[in-house]
């Protein structure tokens, strides 16, 4: 039975993250930001950083920390706000989002002291890096875990399938892959561009422990991350692109867009109502 207090705490953190993500998107002005793909993974990162992972401002350089790799790097709005929510980065760090020379650009840049394990920005690279780290941790006989978050569109990449094939072969039971299945990629619906039907079945056949979960259900996410498996875990999180802002939800226009003051106020109002 999950502690109701924990669920409440994580929901509250997710709500803060969503508001901060919208603030960052608004502050980036006409440069536009990846709003939709950030909002779809808010709950996933809230649970990982607020509950599942052993990462805090105190152990960022310790070998024994859990590792998170954002392979779908256009999810930075959720990443940076999760790091902030958990005291890993400061308000000033957050405020520097996408400013020239900032450590917190539109795609993450490796900065271990600030909790960013690797640079990402080109799709399809995070899974292999995560596997290298997972193999390394096993060789050092450390029991910590590696989490890597992929996009469903990102999984078009051949390099991702090289990773899908090899993680079970290398018996990486210290690796968890999460696929943010929000159903929309840059150019349209995932199902129209390159359908990946039967993903669960295919990956299970390949030797992964596959779970399908509602990616916005905090309690379900806690459970699925806490479950123990002797195979590499692959969690398909069904999510909504632009989740939490009605005019953004399922709307491809919000993959990368300018959040004007007017729309920002509307979006925030909706958050306030939601939290009442």
């Amino acid at each position: 039975m999950i502690n109701a207090g924990l669920v409440e705490k994580l929901k509250k953190q997710a709500s803060h993250m969503r508001i901060n993500a919208l603030k960052l998107a608004n502050a980036s002005g006409n440069n536009a930001a990846h709003v939709g793909p950030g909002l779809s993974i808010i709950e996933i990162l809230a649970v990982l950083y607020g509950h599942t992972m052993n990462v805090s401002s105190k152990n960022l350089l310790d070998e024994g920390r859990d590792r998170f790799i954002l392979s779908k790097e256009h999810g930075v709005l959720a990443y940076y706000t999760a790091l902030y929510e958990n005291g890993i980065i400061t308000e000033e760090d957050l405020a520097s989002f996408m400013k020239t020379g900032s450590a917190f650009l539109g795609h993450p840049v490796m900065n271990r002291k600030k909790g960013i394990e690797f640079t990402s920005g080109s799709l399809g690279m995070g899974l292999s890096l995560a596997m290298g780290v997972a193999i390394g941790l096993k060789r050092k006989q450390l029991s910590n875990h590696v989490y890597v978050l992929l996009g469903d569109g990102e999984s078009n990449e051949g390099s991702i399938w090289e990773g899908f094939l090899s993680a079970p072969h290398f018996k990486l039971d210290n690796l968890t892959v999460i696929i943010d299945r929000n159903g929309i990629q840059l150019g349209g619906k995932t199902n129209d561009i390159l359908p990946m039907n039967h993903l669960e079945k295919v990956l299970e056949e390949m030797g992964w422990a596959v779970y399908t979960v509602d990616g916005h259900d905090v309690e379900a996410l806690i459970n699925v991350f806490d479950s123990i498996s002797n195979k590499p875990k692959l969690i398909i999180a069904n999510t909504i692109k632009g989740k939490g802002v009605s005019f953004m939800e399922h709307n491809i226009d919000w993959h990368h867009a300018v959040l004007t003051d007017k729309l920002f106020n509307e979006a925030i109002e909706e958050q306030v109502k939601e939290n009442e």
Partner: protein, 323 residues
Amino acid sequence: MNNTLKNHKMLARLGQRGTFGMVMLEKAKENEDLLVITADVSIPAGLDRYRKQYPDKFIDVGIAEQNMIGIAAGLASEGFDVYTTTYAPFHTLRCLEQIRMDIGEMKHPVRMIGLSSGVVLGMIGNMHCSFEDIAVIRAIPNITIISPADSFELVKVLEALDNYPNPVYLRLTSGAPSPIIYKEDYNFEIGKTISVKNGEDIAIFATGSIISEAIKAAELLELEGIKAEVINVHTIRPLDIEGIKRVIKDKKLLVSMEEHVIAGGVGSAISEAIALEVKKPPHLMLGLPSDYSKAGIYEEMLDHYGLTAKKVAKSIKETLNNI
């Protein structure tokens, strides 16, 4: 270094690939953090004994070069001493973007071993040749590029890589047996050119095993009264700019020679480095044209590209006559 690795004749018989495998057997004895990763190219990398003797220090990712680079970078980021191997064109071009981000941008110190670079595999076609690798890796910051002159020098390079902090692309050339340049031990330092033959008239800079043709060309030229200094540019980056400037100071002609397209290769690197020098000799750039023309047997292809000793000597004489 054990005695086998000092035997330059035996090393030459093994070629650079076989020598690589021998050295790794030695390294594995003492280095607990060593890991060799391959994309299904272990036997041609001279690693058959290694993979049997040290299965726990060996990973075969299958024919998946992109995955190989990512895994290697992940392991290097955890402090492991990681070597990757496959044929040079696949090692550089198939996974170039992974190299750019995981190794160039993040500087994870992987040692990438590009096998059979140049045109030594020409008989199986251009796709197995590698004459663009220096150019593409040079365009990516932070990666040291080394191409040893012979098998003995490869041993010296691999020794120098212990505790070397930067990522490396090691370009292996020639087949087996491979030409012998060094018959006894000498002082090797990454980033420092070595003069392998003295001469005051002209300077021939060469990288990789093709330097053997440069030395022979210098001997041919000597018969005609032209004295050529031959310089081994084993490290293409960081380039020994001061050493190069010193050598060319009083020379009538600068020649660069490589088993690589002229665009972006070692000749390019030299000419970029001395572009601002007011007093410098004309530069004859010998290498491959930017062209996928015929492919074929190694010696015949070197002749086709004008990289045999005879043709090199002829090009140099003609150039000297015209300046």
